[in-house]
Amino acid sequence: MSRILQTLALLVVLAGGMALPNLVELYTVYEVTVYVVMALLALSLAFIWGKGGIMCLGQASFFGLGAYAYAIAALNFGPGLLAVAIAISVPTLFAAILGYFMFYGRISDIYVGVITLAVSLILMNLVNSTSGPQYRIGAAQLGGFNGITGIPTLAWPNGTPLDPAALFRLSLTLLVGCFAAISLYLRSRAGKVVIAIRENEYRAELLGYNVALSKLVTFSAGGALAGLAGCLFANWGAFVSPTVFALVQSAQIIIWVIVGGRGTLIGPILGCIALQWATTQLGTQQTIQVNLVLGLVLTFFVLVVPAGIAPLLAKCARAVTPSRSRITAKEKQA
């Protein structure tokens, strides 16, 4: 898609999204907000795994850290920008430290996957074991398995909390903004290096690129994005529990990315929204187990459409739209 078309599409999505709360019921706004928040989480994995080639199986770690960091900071310092900054900084720093040992230690991709998965499970068990009054950080009671409740919603500078419509608009703006920023970054030379490392790490190194540093930056940025999503999630539900670190959460993100199209940014966003919608619809009935359906969907895509939805749609669009070069060739023949 050309840059102009992409910019136009983003503006249309943003404008439509801004108007949405005026057109639908409050419950729908509330439901769509979590889709958008999770889409931001999917975007974070699309960036580090799809574009950067870093197989992170524990992206939920950063999401959970963002959510918990916001909850603790908001309860202690108030639901302002400081709480948001802490919610982004904690997972970013955690990703940077973890990434430093993984990438400078030059461990293979498989072990990166195993370590990140193990880290998310360790975090879940760690937070799970914090029930009891002694596990308190300032005004925030960690709550163990029950999590933290009553998290204050982000407030405007005058102290008024964001209403559901404003939270939706903020989430959508952040999603569109992050998508645009990553797209721009990937067109820059530094962004092309990220993709080049995914393509051929050894060649990138032979051309003088510090692969470990580049991966560390990519991984930390992905952690920051996931942390931002976690922050918004805590705002959305006013509640956070250890399940944000769970294997199911990490697996869901991977499924969104695979179904949407791993090598694209838009695909995982679409995959996330579509699958969340489907999960919600399936959740209203008692006949079919939702996780079983998700597993079947994943199996279907891996076997039949391994590239995912977005590349398939792009291929179909190319098939029905004759390219300029093909037209020129036909004109020459004529």
């Binding site: 030379r189 092309k192 393509e199 050894y202 060649r203 032979l206 051309l207 003088g208 692969v211």
Partner: protein
């Protein structure tokens, strides 16, 4: 040879278990030089090449580039010093286009506005201007070799190490490869590792011959071709005795 020595190996060697793949080799490369390393299969030339390029760490001896020791550096640090490497099997960014592969090879010091010009220039020289937007995964073997040589041209290193640049090519493709290597020598001193004597004859420059991990001869192609030790290494002892 008039140029200063820019790449130097002293007592360089490596052993794998009890096997001495390269045995205490002394070697010098001067600025502007085009040197060919030849030898039969298993002679140790590729291992020696990998020692020079930092892909293997030596068990003895040192490699210095413009006086700086390379043996403790990582591949990207060696590259940044000004050493370009073309691997035996073409190693490219498969899903990226030919132009993007070349663009990424242009060093950091080059101004952004000059990069497209340099890429266009290299595309012309390697004869792939028409395929500039084609992903490398879709190229034929010879074209992939040229893209990798194009990366060397785009980066203009002080030393270019080329491992079997004509492997798997037809004679016509090899002739074009020789032209590209001659282009590279405009900016870089070049070491070519090859076992194809016809290709070395086309390059026709100074040749170092390896056999069983040691240098057994050095000189022009004609000189080494007449060397009895070289003939024995390539053709077998019996042939030499008969001769």
């Amino acid at each position: 040879m008039n140029g200063e020595v820019i790449l130097k190996a002293e007592g360089l060697g490596i052993s794998f278990g009890g096997v001495h793949a390269v045995k205490a080799v002394d070697f010098e490369l001067r600025a502007g030089e085009l040197r060919c390393l030849i030898g039969p299969n298993g002679a140790g030339k590729t291992t020696f090449f990998r020692l020079l390029s930092g892909q293997h760490k030596p068990t003895r001896g040192t490699v210095t580039f413009k006086g700086q020791t390379l043996t403790s550096l990582l591949p990207y640090q060696i590259s940044r010093l000004g050493i370009g490497i073309k691997t035996q099997v073409p190693s490219l960014f498969e899903d990226m286009t030919v132009a993007e592969n070349l663009e990424l090879a242009v060093p950091h010091g080059v101004h952004a506005r000059d990069i497209p010009h340099r890429v266009a220039e290299v595309l012309e020289r390697i004869g792939l201007a028409d395929l500039r937007d084609r992903p490398c995964a879709e190229l034929a073997h010879g074209q992939r070799q040229w893209v990798e040589l194009g990366q060397i041209l785009a980066s203009r290193p002080a030393v270019a190490l080329l491992d079997e640049p004509a492997a798997g090519m037809t004679h016509i493709e090899s002739v074009k490869t020789v032209e590209i290597i001659r282009d590279i020598t405009r900016y870089s001193a070049v070491i070519v590792v090859e076992h194809d004597m016809d290709f070395i004859r086309m390059i026709g420059d100074r040749v170092t011959v390896f056999e069983q991990g040691e240098v057994i001869a050095e000189g022009s192609f004609q000189q080494v071709a007449q060397d009895p030790q070289v003939r024995a290494a390539y053709l077998g002892r019996k042939e030499t005795t008969d001769a």
